[in-house]
Subunit: 222 residues, 2 copies
């Protein structure tokens, strides 16, 4: 039986739009003015790559030092939004069902543990679940390092892990890791964008995935 | 030569994500808890339809009275976000180019004039440009009434108007009006969603449309 690796923001918790506006504030503070949809399309990437990619779109080279400063400004701005963040419909139930069915799972996020902690608590994730954050790998998504580390912690071969994510970067990283990618629309990407990035199946949100678990190889225990 | 009818939010001004979070606050205030991406996908619809459609998604029937209250709560919440709103890249330049090329254009929005006024001022739209708002028609998008009224004000047949919009609802309304729809990604929909809704061409934002105006029939004046 397979194992699952879940992205966090936009996949298990409803936080993408708040992250988008927090990044926008951070970028404005250093004089980078970007359309909000362009920021949205970079969420899920490592913060460093996000800053560089957005800089490139407006022809501005972002140094490592600036990227670090942007990350700090984003964290500071996000504090004002984080009380609005809630688990996505079905997220807790999905994780509970997997535990009951003895399907192992992990969480792998491009965020730092400090930023992710509240979301993990909200989801009532127990200490037995491996959590892999930005702090533990050299490169975050779309590099496959986070998913590779998660599979190792689960002691499951990469080709037997199902990666669930809301962003194109999750799905690209899943392909590079040699895992199957499952897309969810709850981060605000369109279905075709996720399919084109390699999702072998796309669901609306965790609740929708929960009610179709048999499509991806999880059978109800007798 | 054709005429243009522009949607406002997400098409000429960068305001969709702020509207999304303002609607979310309004919905929470009346006890309706919805994922943010579901709200995003309804922006551009008339407020009444948006409320009903979102209610339906969580199995809650929204009355006309509640929809009205929601609209008021949204307007009140949006006030806190509106200082962040800016014209999209190329929006002012695009409108200026059309004026210089003597291509008539109008703006047609599902918002009330009260909500839209600041955006129209920001775009430096002159009094010669017809503005059609929610106040003037019985049904807003995805009904075609706004675009029909705009074409009438421009005195151009509907089949000669090019409707530019960022949402699926703009493009559906354009098809119902018998106009050609042009999609822009600046409201955060994916390209394929807009194409599937009937866009005959999709650009990134007003700046991208401006640099491809010859593709949609506008020639530089000699």
């Amino acid at each position: 039986m397979a194992a699952f690796v879940f992205d966090l923001d936009g996949t298990l918790v409803d936080s993408v739009y708040q992250h988008v506006l927090a990044w926008r504030e951070a970028l404005e503070k250093v004089g980078l003015s970007l359309s909000v949809w362009r920021i949205h399309r970079r969420i899920g990437m490592s913060g460093g790559l996000l800053a560089q990619a957005l800089g490139r779109e407006i022809g501005h080279r972002v140094t490592g030092e600036q990227a670090k400063r942007l990350g700090e400004l984003h964290s500071a701005a996000f504090v004002r939004y984080r009380d609005e963040v809630k688990p996505l419909p079905g997220a807790r139930e999905l994780l509970r069902r997997l535990s009951e069915s003895r399907v192992p799972y992990a969480v792998a996020t491009s965020s730092r543990l400090e930023t992710a902690r509240r979301s993990l608590e909200m989801l009532e994730i127990g200490p037995e679940v491996p959590i892999v954050t930005r702090d533990e790998v050299r490169y975050a998504k779309p590099d496959p390092d986070l998913f590779i580390a998660a599979a190792r912690r689960l002691a499951v071969p990469l080709q037997d892990t199902l990666v669930v994510g809301d962003s194109v970067w999750d799905l690209l990283a899943a392909r590079r890791a040699g895992s199957l990618g499952i897309g969810v629309l709850s981060g605000g990407y369109g279905e075709e964008e996720l399919t084109r990035a390699g999702a072998f199946r796309v669901y609306q949100d965790p609740a929708d995935l929960l009610s179709h678990l048999d499509e991806v190889g999880v059978r109800a225990l007798d």
